[in-house]
C-alpha cells in the first residue's frame, strides 16, 4: 500500500518538527535570556 508511506512520512514529520520546533523555541529563549543579562550588566 503506497499511500501508507504518506501516513508514515506525516507521523515522522510531526515528531521531528516538534523536536526541531522546540529547539528553535529554546534558542529564542536563550537569546532573550542573554539580552536580559546584557541589559542588567549595563545598568
Amino acid at each position: 500500500m503506497p499511500e501508507n508511506w504518506l501516513y508514515i512520512a506525516a507521523a515522522y514529520g510531526v515528531v521531528w518538527s516538534a523536536i526541531i520546533g522546540y529547539r528553535l523555541f529554546l534558542g529564542a529563549r536563550r537569546r532573550e535570556a542573554r539580552e536580559l543579562v546584557r541589559k542588567e550588566v549595563e545598568l
Binding site: 501508507n4 508514515i8 529554546l26
Partner: protein, 241 residues
C-alpha cells in the same frame, strides 16, 4: 564586570552542547535503524514504523508528568524554587511530546481503523493528560507570585498524577463495556531492539530539552531577582559601580 551571572551559571556549558549533539546523533541513528531493520508487520504492514515516533513520544509525556510530580514534591519538602523551575521545564517539554503523541496517534488511526480518532483507552487518556499539562502551564502563566505559583503547581501536579492512573483505568473499563475495536496489544520481539533504542534516544533528547529550559529559566529568574534587589536598595548600586 562582564555578565557575571552567565559566567557563574552559563546557559550553554560545553558539556550540555556536547550532550545535545550526542542526543541528536543517537536519535538519528535509532530512527534510521528502527525504520530500516523492522520487517513489515503481519497486520499493519509498514505502518508499524510509525510506532518508532509515536510510542517514544507517549513514553516521554508519561515520564514528563512523573518528573513534574517528583519535582513538585521535592519543592514542597525542600522549599527550593529550583525544583519548581525544573518541574515547569519538564511540563513544557512533556506537553510538546503529548501533543506529538496525539497527532501521530491520529495519523496512525486513519489507515488502520479508517477513522482519525478512536476512543481507545490509551489515546483518550493521552488527550486527558495533554489537557492536564495545559492546565498546569496555564495556571503557571496566570499566577504572578513565584512562591504561590510553585506551591500551587506542586499541588496540581500531585492530584493530576493520581488522576492519570484512574483516568486510564476508567476509560479502559468504559471501552470494554462498549466493545469497540481493539488496539494492537503485543509487540513482536523483532521490534523490541528498535523500540528500546528509540526510547533511550528520546529520553536523551527529553533530558537535553529539560536541562536547557531549566538553565534559561534559572538565569532569567536570577537576573530579575537582582534587578529587584537593586530597585530596593538604590544606594548600594553606586558603591558597586
Amino acid at each position: 564586570m562582564n555578565a557575571s551571572i552567565e559566567r557563574d551559571y552559563p546557559l550553554t556549558p560545553r558539556w550540555l552542547t556536547l550532550f545535545g549533539w550526542g542526543a541528536l546523533a543517537f536519535l538519528l541513528l535509532s530512527q534510521v535503524l528502527g525504520v530500516l531493520t523492522s520487517p513489515p508487520d503481519r497486520d499493519m504492514g509498514d505502518l508499524q514504523k510509525i510506532m518508532y515516533v509515536h510510542v517514544p513520544s507517549a513514553f516521554m509525556s508519561l515520564i514528563g508528568y512523573a518528573v513534574i510530580f517528583v519535582f513538585g514534591i521535592l519543592y514542597l519538602v525542600k522549599r527550593d524554587l529550583r525544583y519548581d523551575l525544573l518541574a515547569a521545564s519538564a511540563a513544557q517539554v512533556g506537553a510538546v511530546f503529548a501533543a506529538a503523541t496525539l497527532v501521530t496517534g491520529s495519523i496512525w488511526a486513519r489507515p488502520t481503523w479508517n477513522v482519525w480518532w478512536t476512543w481507545d483507552a490509551r489515546l483518550t487518556s493521552m488527550a486527558v493528560l495533554f489537557l492536564m499539562y495545559v492546565g498546569y502551564l496555564v495556571l503557571r502563566a496566570f499566577t504572578e507570585d513565584e512562591i504561590r505559583r510553585a506551591r500551587w503547581s506542586a499541588a496540581i501536579a500531585g492530584l493530576g498524577f493520581i488522576n492519570s492512573g484512574i483516568v486510564y483505568m476508567s476509560v479502559k473499563w468504559w471501552r470494554t463495556i462498549h466493545q469497540m475495536q481493539s488496539t494492537p496489544g503485543t509487540i513482536d520481539p523483532a521490534y523490541v531492539r528498535g523500540f528500546r533504542m528509540n526510547i533511550i534516544a528520546f529520553l536523551f533528547v527529553f533530558a537535553y530539552f529539560v536541562i536547557s529550559r531549566y538553565r534559561v529559566a534559572r538565569v532569567v529568574r536570577d537576573v530579575e531577582a537582582r534587578i529587584e534587589e537593586r530597585a530596593l536598595a538604590p544606594n548600594a548600586e553606586n558603591v558597586h559601580a
